[in-house]
Protein backbone atom coordinates (compact mmCIF):
# COMPACT_ATOMS: atom_id res chain seq x y z
CA UNK A 1 0.00 0.00 0.00
CA UNK A 2 1.53 3.34 -0.97
CA UNK A 3 1.33 6.47 1.12
CA UNK A 4 -1.57 7.99 -0.87
CA UNK A 5 -3.62 4.84 -0.42
CA UNK A 6 -2.93 4.96 3.29
CA UNK A 7 -4.05 8.59 3.37
CA UNK A 8 -7.38 7.65 1.83
CA UNK A 9 -7.93 4.47 3.85
CA UNK A 10 -10.83 4.35 6.32
CA UNK A 11 -12.30 7.62 5.04
CA UNK A 12 -15.63 6.74 6.62
CA UNK A 13 -14.03 7.15 10.06
CA UNK A 14 -12.50 10.45 9.31
CA UNK A 15 -15.48 12.74 8.94
CA UNK A 16 -13.89 16.13 8.38
CA UNK A 17 -10.51 15.04 9.69
CA UNK A 18 -7.90 16.34 7.21
CA UNK A 19 -5.54 13.38 7.66
CA UNK A 20 -5.70 9.76 8.73
CA UNK A 21 -3.73 8.35 11.68
CA UNK A 22 -2.25 5.77 9.28
CA UNK A 23 -0.91 8.53 7.06
CA UNK A 24 0.80 10.28 9.98
CA UNK A 25 2.29 6.95 11.07
CA UNK A 26 3.66 6.48 7.55
CA UNK A 27 5.09 10.01 7.57
CA UNK A 28 6.83 9.30 10.88
CA UNK A 29 8.21 5.90 9.89
CA UNK A 30 11.95 5.57 10.37
CA UNK A 31 12.22 8.70 12.51
CA UNK A 32 12.20 8.02 16.25
CA UNK A 33 11.62 11.66 17.19
CA UNK A 34 8.59 11.99 14.95
CA UNK A 35 7.21 8.65 16.14
CA UNK A 36 7.55 9.78 19.74
CA UNK A 37 5.92 13.14 19.04
CA UNK A 38 3.08 11.47 17.13
CA UNK A 39 2.48 9.09 20.01
CA UNK A 40 2.49 12.03 22.41
CA UNK A 41 0.00 13.94 20.23
CA UNK A 42 -2.25 10.89 19.90
CA UNK A 43 -2.24 10.35 23.68
CA UNK A 44 -3.05 14.03 24.32
CA UNK A 45 -5.89 13.99 21.77
CA UNK A 46 -7.38 10.93 23.49
CA UNK A 47 -6.96 12.44 26.97
CA UNK A 48 -8.76 15.54 25.73
CA UNK A 49 -11.61 13.49 24.23
CA UNK A 50 -11.95 11.60 27.53
CA UNK A 51 -12.08 14.86 29.51
CA UNK A 52 -14.79 16.21 27.19
CA UNK A 53 -16.85 13.01 27.52
CA UNK A 54 -16.39 12.92 31.31
CA UNK A 55 -17.70 16.47 31.63
CA UNK A 56 -20.63 15.82 29.28
CA UNK A 57 -21.54 12.65 31.17
CA UNK A 58 -21.33 14.45 34.51
CA UNK A 59 -23.54 17.30 33.34
CA UNK A 60 -26.10 14.73 32.24
CA UNK A 61 -25.96 12.82 35.53
CA UNK A 62 -29.19 12.09 37.31
CA UNK A 63 -27.52 12.58 40.65
CA UNK A 64 -27.36 16.34 40.44
CA UNK A 65 -24.42 18.65 39.88
CA UNK A 66 -21.93 19.67 42.52
CA UNK A 67 -20.47 23.07 41.48
CA UNK A 68 -17.00 22.22 42.81
CA UNK A 69 -16.87 18.89 41.02
CA UNK A 70 -18.15 20.49 37.84
CA UNK A 71 -15.45 23.15 38.09
CA UNK A 72 -12.77 20.51 38.61
CA UNK A 73 -13.90 18.57 35.52
CA UNK A 74 -14.01 21.82 33.55
CA UNK A 75 -10.50 22.73 34.71
CA UNK A 76 -9.27 19.26 33.82
CA UNK A 77 -10.73 19.64 30.33
CA UNK A 78 -9.05 23.04 29.91
CA UNK A 79 -5.66 21.70 31.04
CA UNK A 80 -6.03 18.79 28.65
CA UNK A 81 -7.05 21.14 25.83
CA UNK A 82 -3.92 23.26 26.43
CA UNK A 83 -1.65 20.21 26.45
CA UNK A 84 -3.28 18.91 23.26
CA UNK A 85 -2.81 22.21 21.42
CA UNK A 86 0.87 22.22 22.38
CA UNK A 87 1.40 18.63 21.24
CA UNK A 88 -0.32 19.25 17.87
CA UNK A 89 1.79 22.36 17.25
CA UNK A 90 5.01 20.60 18.22
CA UNK A 91 4.31 17.62 15.96
CA UNK A 92 3.48 19.82 12.97
CA UNK A 93 6.51 22.05 13.60
CA UNK A 94 8.78 19.02 13.62
CA UNK A 95 7.24 17.66 10.43
CA UNK A 96 8.06 21.01 8.79
CA UNK A 97 11.61 20.99 10.14
CA UNK A 98 12.09 17.53 8.65
CA UNK A 99 10.52 18.58 5.31
CA UNK A 100 7.61 16.15 5.65
CA UNK A 101 4.13 16.75 4.25
CA UNK A 102 2.17 19.30 6.30
CA UNK A 103 -0.32 20.25 3.58
CA UNK A 104 -3.06 18.49 5.58
CA UNK A 105 -2.47 20.93 8.46
CA UNK A 106 -3.33 23.97 6.34
CA UNK A 107 -7.01 23.51 7.10
CA UNK A 108 -6.38 23.87 10.85
CA UNK A 109 -5.87 27.33 12.34
CA UNK A 110 -3.42 26.45 15.10
CA UNK A 111 -4.22 29.68 16.93
CA UNK A 112 -7.89 28.78 17.10
CA UNK A 113 -8.48 26.67 20.24
CA UNK A 114 -11.83 25.45 19.02
CA UNK A 115 -10.46 24.25 15.67
CA UNK A 116 -7.55 22.41 17.26
CA UNK A 117 -9.96 20.90 19.80
CA UNK A 118 -12.22 19.63 17.04
CA UNK A 119 -9.23 18.20 15.19
CA UNK A 120 -8.14 16.46 18.42
CA UNK A 121 -11.55 14.89 18.99
CA UNK A 122 -11.80 13.68 15.39
CA UNK A 123 -8.25 12.35 15.51
CA UNK A 124 -8.76 10.54 18.83
CA UNK A 125 -11.84 8.74 17.56
CA UNK A 126 -10.35 8.01 14.13
CA UNK A 127 -7.28 6.40 15.72
CA UNK A 128 -9.38 4.31 18.09
CA UNK A 129 -11.87 3.25 15.42
CA UNK A 130 -9.02 2.33 13.08
CA UNK A 131 -7.48 0.09 15.75
CA UNK A 132 -10.82 -1.55 16.60
CA UNK A 133 -11.33 -2.41 12.93
CA UNK A 134 -7.86 -3.89 12.43
Amino acid sequence: MDIEQVALKNEDHLGKLPVSPDYLEKLSEGDEDLQELLEEMTDKCKDYAISVMNLDSYLASEEGIDPEERQELDNSRTRSHNATIDSVKIFIRNLRIKSKDTSWAQSIDLNNRSQVGRFALLYAFADTLQKVQK
Partner: protein, 60 residues
Protein backbone atom coordinates in the same frame (compact mmCIF):
# COMPACT_ATOMS: atom_id res chain seq x y z
CA UNK B 1 -35.27 7.32 30.33
CA UNK B 2 -34.06 10.91 30.19
CA UNK B 3 -31.93 12.69 32.74
CA UNK B 4 -30.82 16.28 33.22
CA UNK B 5 -30.32 18.27 30.03
CA UNK B 6 -32.26 15.67 28.09
CA UNK B 7 -29.42 13.20 27.65
CA UNK B 8 -30.73 9.63 27.60
CA UNK B 9 -29.09 7.17 30.00
CA UNK B 10 -28.11 5.19 26.92
CA UNK B 11 -25.98 8.08 25.68
CA UNK B 12 -24.28 8.34 29.05
CA UNK B 13 -23.38 4.66 28.78
CA UNK B 14 -22.05 5.22 25.27
CA UNK B 15 -19.84 8.09 26.45
CA UNK B 16 -18.64 6.04 29.40
CA UNK B 17 -17.75 3.10 27.14
CA UNK B 18 -15.84 5.39 24.77
CA UNK B 19 -13.98 7.16 27.57
CA UNK B 20 -12.72 3.76 28.75
CA UNK B 21 -11.93 2.58 25.21
CA UNK B 22 -9.83 5.69 24.52
CA UNK B 23 -7.64 5.15 27.58
CA UNK B 24 -4.02 4.39 26.77
CA UNK B 25 -3.96 1.36 29.05
CA UNK B 26 -7.41 0.30 30.20
CA UNK B 27 -7.28 -1.79 33.39
CA UNK B 28 -8.94 -5.22 33.72
CA UNK B 29 -11.74 -3.45 35.64
CA UNK B 30 -12.16 -1.04 32.71
CA UNK B 31 -12.46 -3.98 30.31
CA UNK B 32 -15.05 -5.60 32.56
CA UNK B 33 -17.07 -2.39 32.65
CA UNK B 34 -16.82 -2.06 28.86
CA UNK B 35 -18.06 -5.65 28.42
CA UNK B 36 -20.95 -4.99 30.77
CA UNK B 37 -21.97 -1.79 28.98
CA UNK B 38 -21.66 -3.50 25.60
CA UNK B 39 -23.96 -6.29 26.73
CA UNK B 40 -26.47 -3.83 28.13
CA UNK B 41 -26.45 -1.77 24.96
CA UNK B 42 -26.41 -4.85 22.71
CA UNK B 43 -24.17 -3.04 20.27
CA UNK B 44 -20.83 -3.78 18.63
CA UNK B 45 -17.79 -1.79 19.88
CA UNK B 46 -17.47 -0.07 16.51
CA UNK B 47 -21.09 1.09 16.61
CA UNK B 48 -20.72 2.39 20.17
CA UNK B 49 -17.58 4.32 19.31
CA UNK B 50 -19.11 5.84 16.18
CA UNK B 51 -22.12 6.99 18.18
CA UNK B 52 -19.88 8.38 20.93
CA UNK B 53 -17.94 10.30 18.30
CA UNK B 54 -21.12 11.83 16.85
CA UNK B 55 -22.43 12.72 20.31
CA UNK B 56 -19.14 14.29 21.41
CA UNK B 57 -18.73 16.29 18.23
CA UNK B 58 -22.29 17.63 18.21
CA UNK B 59 -21.15 20.75 20.04
CA UNK B 60 -17.91 21.26 18.12
Amino acid sequence: MYSYFGMPKRKQQILRYASLALKKSPSPADHEEMDRIQKELQMEPLQILKEAKDTTLEKY
